[in-house]
């Protein structure tokens, strides 16, 4: 009896060791990649790097200002499209769960969330780029907005569903009309959940390349026109990393470093926001 138990216990310990080992192995690629990017990239970053456009092939120096500005503009525009639509749709889904529209709309949210980013890019190419006759920042923003929406919608919906009904009832019983109940009571109470959903959606699209390949397309110059092609950080990284020029590789490392830092900061901020603004219910 004793031997059998010892064998079973040993099996348990061995299993745990294997699990722990495999689980923590995941940290290795992350650390390796992060360290490498930081090492290669941090040297590239200086004032010149941040304020100049890439130099032509063969000329040293240059920077990524066009990509930085471009990313900011494109992401800002996407947010302006996706956040209002996403929040309103999320409100509808949480307030009217039984209706047919909620069922089909919810299904479409799930579908949209699974659509590969390259497919979104193709579709927006036909919707915006072809009619406009040119690649453009706005088409890129539309594509990215379509990817942000499901995240904003689901987090808004789930946050609002968690709020107790009594909150709405209290406001309604005071004669507050429905839209004010939602906008002035429900949304503020769910603020932290909704905000973290928004931040997560931004973090998701800030590094996206595929949807921009045939929409924003990229631009070697600094442009702020939304109806012209525009550069973004991930696009620059893709194009310059796959080029045969060392100078451009260096720019890509610097850009990777900036992008990585930004994504990291966004993710950490999201966690802090959730903790700070969580309203005690």
């Amino acid at each position: 009896m004793d031997a059998r138990i010892r064998i079973r216990n040993t099996k348990s310990i061995v299993f745990k060791s294997v699990v722990v080992f495999l689980a923590f192995m995941i940290t290795i690629p992350l650390i390796v990649i992060l360290v490498y990017i930081i090492k290669q990239g941090v040297m590239q970053v200086n004032w010149h790097f941040l304020t100049n456009v890439p130099a032509p092939v063969g000329e040293p120096g240059g920077g990524i200002s066009n990509a930085l500005v471009g990313s900011i503009i494109i992401v800002a525009m996407s947010s302006m499209i996706a956040i209002p639509i996403g929040m309103l749709a999320g409100i509808y889904l949480s307030e009217n769960p039984g209706t047919r529209l909620a069922h089909y709309s919810g299904l479409c949210v799930d579908i949209l969330q699974g659509v590969p980013s390259i497919v979104v890019g193709i579709v927006v190419y036909f919707w915006v780029v072809k009619p406009l006759g040119t690649f453009s920042a706005i088409s890129g923003s539309i594509a990215l907005a379509m990817m942000m929406m499901p995240i904003v919608i689901r987090s808004t919906e789930q946050t609002l569903k968690l709020l107790p009904d009594t909150l709405k009832e209290a406001a309604l019983s005071l004669g507050v009309p429905y839209h004010r109940v939602i906008l002035k009571v429900i949304i503020p109470c769910g603020f932290s959940g909704i905000l973290s959903g928004i931040m997560l959606s931004v973090a998701r699209i800030v590094g996206e390349t595929a949807p921009l390949l045939f929409t924003a397309f990229g631009n070697p110059y600094l442009s702020t026109s939304i109806t012209k092609p525009m550069q973004s950080l991930p696009l620059l990284i893709f194009n310059y990393a796959t080029s045969p020029y060392d100078d451009w590789h260096n720019l890509a490392w610097g850009a990777s470093f900036m992008l990585l830092m930004f994504v990291l900061i966004l993710n950490i901020s999201t966690k802090l926001v959730t903790r700070k603004w969580n309203i005690q219910l």
């Binding site: 579709v123 190419y125 839209h179 994504v263």
Partner: protein, 307 residues
Amino acid sequence: MPLLKNKRLDLSYSQMKWETVFKRLLIAMSTVLVIIVAGILITLIVQSMPSIKSLGLGYLWGKVWDPVQNIYGAYPFLLGTLLTSFTALIISIPFSYAIAIYLGEYNTRGWLSNLLKNTVELIAAVPSVIYGFWGLFVLVPIVRSLEMKIGVAPYGVGVFTSSLILAVMIIPYAASLGTSLIRMVPSPLKEGAYALGATRFEVIRSVILPYTRSGLFAGILLSLGRALGETMAVAMLIGNTTTIGNTFKDIFFGPGNTMASVIASQFTEADHTVYLSALIELGLVLFFVTVIINLVGKRIITKYTNN
């Protein structure tokens, strides 16, 4: 009319019309979602039409892709997609499960658990183009020397390399889903087994894993869906060819293409209608496959969490 004790409240009557406007706006925005998805489907189908009409269904198993001669066959890309995705899946499963079991059962809270959880989330947060970039400069040389050792053509890039990076990228999806599912296993079930003298391993093997089996399978489906649609890292590491190798070794260790990566590489070069349309058709296939996998996965999870 009873006396309005409080005249200040008079002003709110106009709120009624805003209420209707708001409710209609909510409905409109939800409809937008349906319109978007319908639009995606319609656009993909309409734009694939030229290719569907002139190439027919044989397109899907045609082995030759030669735009110059106007011959299009999707088989190389279907093969590449399946190989990379399934290889990545197989490599990633042990790690995803290990993380899920560790975070779901062995160590559900505390600083070490949080550290691992954050690491996993960070892996999912790193943009795919950065994985591709790193892979190009670090992984490819390593794979190249490995290929020289085992006697295969030392491309460095190829299906194998892409599968490796893809595996890392999809680990978080099954891992975080698995963690939540394992944490949901009701304590009374586990306690019953412990009370009978089971070891930790036995409880995991005979209570937790069977209980979460369908949910964990859904996690695999979601990881698969993610792998199928992944474009950038694969495009940078897969070598971008349109021919199929001769032996399995050639195919697996040599360059190739997936549906997503070939669209990314060739879309802007497609100058005639059928060429472009053939690429869009790939997008249509990709759309259907990933959507179905994702919906099935989500359905399984909803059923699991409702039980």
